[in-house]
Amino acid sequence: MTVQQAPGPLRRALAGVRWYLREFTGEARWDDYLAHCAAEGRTPMSRRDFERHRADRREHHQSARCC
């Protein structure tokens, strides 16, 4: 992510929160994938296919939740 020109503390905090939430929920994975494809010069699959692929993977990986 590019750093904006002299961002204020509030702006930086908001950008930090946004970064965290996107990373936490896995939304940022799409950006990572695009960057990855660009670096390798591949054509990325559509976002729908990408997310479906991720969801199907999750199906067979138990996510434990505690008491």
Binding site: R22, E40, F50, A55, R58, S63, R65, C66
Partner: protein, 738 residues
């Protein structure tokens, strides 16, 4: 199986020594924190019969956490475990983007916390408030510092050194087949009990409450909508759909307020038995549906709700500054005759609090997903120890909410229906008999204020917590929204529990399929529908029948089953701590074995005393078999003992008490088997000065990442330098190096 020698290689690069001497500023700061914490504890310990603010509890806990994290967890990391940042973690070595993945430490902290935090720390402390505020506060804080966080961190570390092996696998490989098998059975059985008790909490919170049923019921279509949105409408936009989901959730809560008194409201006024059936059916369907439909979207909702409510509650405490209403230590703690659960302070307060101080279940999380995603070894400190401190803070918040409400109200809500008689007049009389004052009118007014038909005998902890939260928010933010806040809190607890119920059923299903798969290969295939459905049905039937037994128990399901749940959880912790001790000894670190050994010894004393009392006590209020005998004799003499109402209920008490007693004894025996097996291994290892383990050999790490929540300036510089060198490398190489 690859093995490594227990002695560290002398030629291996060591973790750079921690930065030299602490600065004078840091010394002054930590002395101040210590003095402040000590002052808070002194006020709590010495105040009697005067108005004590709940903020003393909050700050005593926070100061203690800070000191424990700064000093004790660091000691464990550097001296006991000898974390080594020059050593590559499984995430770095085996990175595949699926199971193994280097994850930012703060993001992983969030994931780990979301996985360990559930309804347990919200419920246990509320019930333990029966003993007064002091025993609960002390155990939640001391317990987490010396036991719970230590367990989570050490299990996480050892699993990380073994490529993320599960607790069961590690027990089998490091202790023995006997211990491993006992541990596997114990884990499965304990999970069934946990699911049953959690479901029981939901049933008790929603029974006869159309508002609650309406808003919780709507979470299902809301989650389905979110699932469809993410799959078909706008794939991947999680934040956007979560925001929509939260708004819909709030609308559902507000909407519930208009349902009462309408025909729909009458239709949604469900008996506990009906709700049990609904939950069982729901549990089965939810566990066989694809995860994108319900589980994943609701997980987003419940995680954000939890963090939001806890943050709001902390703000609420500071604004409302509630005063403690409970005694520091009640007479029930000494005499063991409390109505919420039977037994004296020792051992039952430790059993009841469970999750907020020490939770065996966390060992399953700490040995599952999390260790496969850690970037640097030193991060086990912030994720394992830090995550558990946060969980403990949740427990402290729940405890405060329970001890700042009127104590007459507390006992009216938490005593079983068999004792209170269920209506306002009889409940007021019962509570007055306990030594608290509350009138029938006050009970009615309290129920009316939160727009429930009654709050009498709403056991299970969730309604009490919701009542406390509504009172604190009302004081803090005003606006006459007590009923909204009450149902908001109920919703937030039920959301977690439902998520835990379907995630737990799935975990149980995988375990069952895996185990049966050893003899019948095809059954182990998780994508083969008949096996998946069959295993799900077995798991749901198991917890569903325990739930039904609890719901219909004449003596009160929470009163009867919660001790079983608490002991089961603590016994699981005993297994995890036993593994930690064994591994330290096998690694030739006998001198540090006391770090998990001390909490293990304490936990064994507590759980074995409690198990002994629940099995062998001749007091029918405590011992399951004594209870069964008492009711059996009365039944055979043709009598009916209150609270049972007829001969059929007498039979039921006899059956339930016997079943609970057998389960209790079985759990204790399984744990003794694991501990005995481990003791043999420990003696051999101690004699030999260490034994080979399944630790994965050292591989140098090429990754640079900070270790703690906040990166130091040196760490930031190192990360920048490393990123710069990587950029140059990638310019030289074309494409991805992997």
């Amino acid at each position: 199986m690859e093995t490594t020698a227990p002695t560290p290689h002398a030629d291996r690069p060591r973790t750079p020594a921690p930065r030299g001497r602490p600065s004078p500023l840091s010394i002054v700061l930590w002395v101040l924190v210590a003095v402040f914490g000590a002052a808070c504890w002194t006020v709590l310990a010495l105040s009697r019969g005067e108005e004590v603010s709940a903020l003393w509890i909050l700050f005593a806990a926070l100061a203690s956490y800070a000191i424990a994290y700064r000093f004790y967890s660091r000691f464990i990391a550097n001296r006991v475990l000898e974390v080594d940042d020059t050593r590559a973690t499984p995430a770095e070595r085996l990175e595949d983007g699926v199971d193994f993945e280097v994850t930012d430490r703060r993001v992983l902290f969030g994931h780990h916390f979301a996985a360990i935090a559930g309804a347990g720390p919200l419920v246990g402390p509320v019930l333990a408030a029966q003993m007064g505020y002091l025993p609960g506060t002390i155990w939640i804080v001391v317990g987490v510092i010396l036991a719970g966080a230590v367990q989570d961190m050490i299990v996480l570390f050892f699993s990380m050194r073994r490529d993320g092996k599960s607790l069961g696998q590690m027990v089998r490989e490091e202790i023995g087949v006997v211990g491993g098998t006992a541990a596997l059975i114990a884990v499965f059985a304990i999970m069934i009990i946990i699911l049953a008790v959690l479901a029981l909490v939901v049933v008790n919170a929603l029974a006869e409450s159309p508002w609650g049923v309406f808003s919780i019921g709507l979470t299902i279509p809301i989650a389905l909508f979110m699932g469809v949105y993410l799959r078909f409408l706008r794939p991947g936009r999680v934040l956007e759909v979560t925001a929509i989901g939260v708004v819909l959730l709030l609308v559902a809560i507000i909407g519930g307020g208009y349902v009462d008194g309408t025909a729909l409201g009458d239709a949604l006024t469900l008996s506990p038995e009906t709700l049990t059936l609904c939950l069982v059916v729901y549990g089965f369907i939810a566990s066989v549906l694809p995860v994108w439909t319900l589980l994943t979207p609701r997980d987003y909702l419940s995680t954000f709700m939890k963090v939001g409510v806890i943050a709001l509650l902390a703000v609420g405490f500071v604004l409302a500054r509630p005063v403690l209403q409970a005694d520091a230590v009640t007479s029930f703690a000494r005499d063991g005759d409390g109505p919420v659960f039977a037994g004296e302070l020792f051992p039952f307060v430790f059993i009841t609090i469970a999750c907020g101080a020490l939770s065996g279940f966390h060992a399953l999380i700490a040995s599952g997903t999390t260790p496969k995603m850690i970037a640097k070894e030193s991060q086990v400190r912030m994720i394992g120890y830090g995550g558990m401190l946060m969980e403990s803070f949740v427990a402290i918040s729940a405890l405060i909410a329970a001890v700042v409400i009127d104590q007459g109200m507390y006992y009216a809500m938490n005593s079983p229906a068999g004792a209170t008689g269920g209506d306002f007049a009889s409940a007021a009389e019962y509570v007055t008999g306990l030594g608290f004052t509350i009138t029938p009118d006050e009970l009615q007014a309290a129920a009316a204020a939160v727009e429930e038909q009654t709050l009498v005998s709403r056991t299970g902890g969730a309604p009490t917590l919701a009542f406390g939260i509504s009172q604190i928010f009302e004081d803090a933010f005003g606006g006459g929204l007590a009923a909204f806040w009450y149902h908001f809190a109920i919703m937030f607890e039920a959301l977690f529990i439902l998520t835990a119920v379907d995630a737990g059923t799935r975990v149980g299903r995988f375990m069952l399929q895996d185990t049966i798969g050893n003899v019948w290969k095809r059954f182990g295939d998780t994508s083969w529908k008949p096996a998946a459905w069959g295993a799900s049905a077995v798991v749901v039937a198991a917890w569903g029948s325990m739930l039904y037994i609890g719901v219909t128990d004449p003596l009160g399901g929470i009163n009867q089953l919660f001790p079983l749940f608490g002991i089961a959880n603590q016994l699981l912790a005993a297994i995890a701590l036993t593994l930690c001790v064994t591994l330290l000894v096998k690694h030739g670190k006998l001198r540090w074995a006391w770090v998990p050994g001390l909490p293990l010894a304490w936990d064994l004393v507590v759980t074995m005393t409690a198990s002994w009392q629940k099995v062998f006590s001749d007091n029918p209020a405590i011992g399951y078999f004594a209870q069964a005998d008492r009711y059996r004799e009365a039944r055979d003499a043709g009598e009916v003992l209150a609270p049972a109402a007829d001969a059929a209920q007498m039979d039921q008490v006899v059956f339930n008490s016997t079943l609970n007693g057998v389960l209790q004894a079985t759990f204790a025996v399984l744990v003794i088997v694991v501990v005995a097996n481990a003791a043999l291994v420990c003696v051999r290892a101690a004699r030999a000065g260490g034994l080979p383990t399944t630790e994965v050999p050292y591989t140098p790490s090429h990754l640079v990442a900070p270790s703690d929540f906040f990166a130091t300036p040196e760490e930031k510089a190192a990360v920048r330098e490393w990123e710069e060198s990587r950029r140059q490398d990638s310019r030289h190489l074309s494409g991805d190096p992997r």
